[in-house]
């Protein structure tokens, strides 16, 4: 059942120390000057943040695919990520770029707003399809407002801040970001794991799931809270990072018994591993400025998504 978990833990145990040494400056703990400072203040928090964000994205993606019974689902569908991005953009718009607190806080507020809207809608409809459509509408609205903020940016500096931030990155993040994101993400992953049995039942369709004792309203709340906390806190500290939530469950699924519940924890671990590796690649690529993590992951993700679509079409033919 949890066969991939030990495997992924071993991979992480190998990857984390390596990621600490890798970078524009390869660290040799014995001889590099200031090695302790570079490790403790720059690379360790950055590696931990990659693990936290990747873990949240992976778990949320696995839960969303289980909930929608669709391998093409992505945590972005609920509108939490665009909501959080809108909050951060508002903070940048008002010139809080220098404040280490305001951007994440307003991003969390944006995520909370999207979750509250979803919650209001969830009270009225228990069906998967209308609920998801509502999420897509929230995503569209937040996206439009974000574009509006960019087009009305008070000055070129704010506009460039916003656009750069939206690309998602782990550069210049520190311990406060971890203290913010790690607990929220952890709680979110636990909530998503609690939704596991109900997601398993949903494999048989909505009516059959109810006949197995699933309470659709409780499931919706667990998903709103779980996806909201993982994705909201991730966007708050790292900006928008796409495709991880989509790809990771696909990579992990063949290693499991394919039940949605047995996918959530392995997806969290694999997401952590993927974001960690992608961030290291961004760091060591010999480019003039560092490649943004969000861009790098989308560059990997988009072709993979296409490959997936083609494979599914062949499967149906």
């Amino acid at each position: 059942m949890t066969r991939p978990v030990p495997l992924l833990l071993v991979a992480l145990a190998l990857a984390v120390p390596l990621s600490l040494l890798a970078g524009r400056v390869w660290l040799d703990p014995a001889s590099t000057p200031n090695a302790a400072i570079i490790l403790g203040e720059l690379r360790l928090p950055r590696a931990l943040l990659a693990l936290v964000i990747g873990g949240g994205l992976g778990a949320a993606g696995a839960a969303m695919q289980g909930y929608l019974r669709n391998p093409l689902a992505d945590p972005g569908l609920f509108g939490v990520a665009p909501g959080a991005a809108l909050g951060a953009v508002v903070a940048l718009w008002f010139g809080f770029a220098a404040s280490p607190v305001m951007v994440p806080l307003l991003a969390l507020a944006g995520a909370g707003g999207a979750m509250a809207l979803l919650g209001l809608i969830a009270g009225r409809t228990a069906g998967v399809a209308p609920f998801t459509l509502a999420g897509v509408m929230i995503a569209g609205l937040a996206g439009a407002l974000t574009s509006l903020a960019i087009s009305l940016a008070p000055n070129a500096f704010a506009m460039s801040e916003i656009v750069t931030w939206l690309m998602g990155a782990l550069t210049d993040r520190g311990w406060p970001d971890i203290w913010l994101a790690a607990p929220l993400t952890l709680v979110g992953i636990v909530l998503l794991r609690l939704a596991g049995p109900a997601l398993d039942a949903l494999t048989l369709g909505e009516t059959a799931a109810r006949s197995l004792g699933v309470n659709p309203a409780r499931l919706q709340w667990l998903l709103i809270a779980g996806v909201g906390l993982t994705i909201g806190s991730g966007v708050a500290v790292a900006g928008v990072i796409g495709f991880v939530g989509l790809i990771v469950p696909h990579l992990v699924r063949p290693l499991t018994d394919r039940r949605p519940s047995s996918l959530i924890v392995p997806s969290a671990l694999a997401g952590a591993l993927l974001v960690l590796i992608a961030d290291v690649v961004c760091r060591i690529l010999p480019l003039v400025t560092e490649l943004r993590l969000g861009i790098a992951l989308s560059l990997i993700g988009a072709p993979f998504f296409l490959h997936l679509l083609l494979k599914m079409r062949r499967g149906l033919a």
């Binding site: 669709n70 049995p197 039942a201 949903l202 494999t203 059959a208 006949s211 004792g213 018994d257 394919r258």
Partner: protein, 246 residues
């Protein structure tokens, strides 16, 4: 005992009452849109009616916690959806969800009773239609319910698989389980059910042993086609009276 009392739902059910007994096979018949699936969903506690109530062993079904209800009533929907490519055993094990355990015993027993042991590790996507229907029934049996409510479990099967699945349901009924199935094929209901409920436009038109509830008069009244039964008890076939006289 599973009892429906005066079930009322606008446009779907119109005052349906029936007391169903465990250990027998009850067939629900009726034209399209007569309210068969609605009645069954109401009996399964999945459809809230405007008036009336369903009682399970003299307890209102709506007062039962969903998981407790799920342990007693196994429901097999018509569509037979399985979203992920689980193994046959993985699918059957979903039936244990209301119990919150993964007890191997009931799952193994369900697989064995449906002759699925050799297929236990096969992914669902590689099964034939008949095998998949059996695997879906195994999911219900693994939950060890007192009642099995199945919506057209025979619809997509060839006659051989229909008879074998009916045999499985009969075995469950002989074990004391109450079996309630929606059936379109009137001959299957006539030959294999212990009791038939005939619905027409949301109303219960006939209720009784198959030979009475599915009499030629009832069929003409409800389905509006003149039909005639031929053959003997347990082996009856339905033929059109119009072509006979022509």
């Amino acid at each position: 005992m599973l009892a429906a009392h005066e079930l009322q739902l606008a446009g779907r059910l119109d005052g349906v009452s029936a007391v169903l007994k465990a250990g027998t096979i009850t067939a629900i018949c009726g034209p399209n849109g007569a309210g068969k699936s609605s009645l069954q969903e109401a009996l399964a506690g999945l459809l809230r009616t405007e008036h009336g109530a369903v009682r399970l062993d003299d307890q209102p079904l709506s007062a039962l916690p969903p998981r407790e209800r799920a342990r007693r009533i196994g429901y097999l929907p018509q569509a037979g959806e399985v979203a992920w490519d689980l193994s046959v055993r993985g699918l059957a094990a979903l039936g244990r969800l209301p119990h919150g355990d993964e007890a191997a015993g009931p799952v193994d027993a369900a697989l064995a009773s449906l002759d699925l042991v050799d297929l236990a590790d096969r992914p669902i996507s590689t099964l034939s239609g008949g095998e998949k229907a059996r695997a879906l029934l195994a999911r219900v049996l693994a939950g060890e319910p007192r009642w099995i409510l199945a919506d057209e479990p025979l619809a997509a099967l060839d006659i051989g698989h229909q008879l074998s699945l009916l045999g499985n349901l009969r075995a469950a009924a002989e074990g004391g389980t109450g079996v309630v199935i929606v059936v379109h094929d009137l001959a299957l209901a006539m030959n294999h059910a212990d009791r038939v409920l005939v619905l027409g436009e949301g109303r219960l038109v006939a209720d009784g042993p198959p030979a009475e509830a599915l009499s030629e008069a009832v069929i003409e009244q409800v389905w509006q086609v003149p039909m005639r039964w031929i053959g003997g008890p347990g082996a009856r076939a339905l033929v059109s009276r119009a072509t006979q006289t022509a």
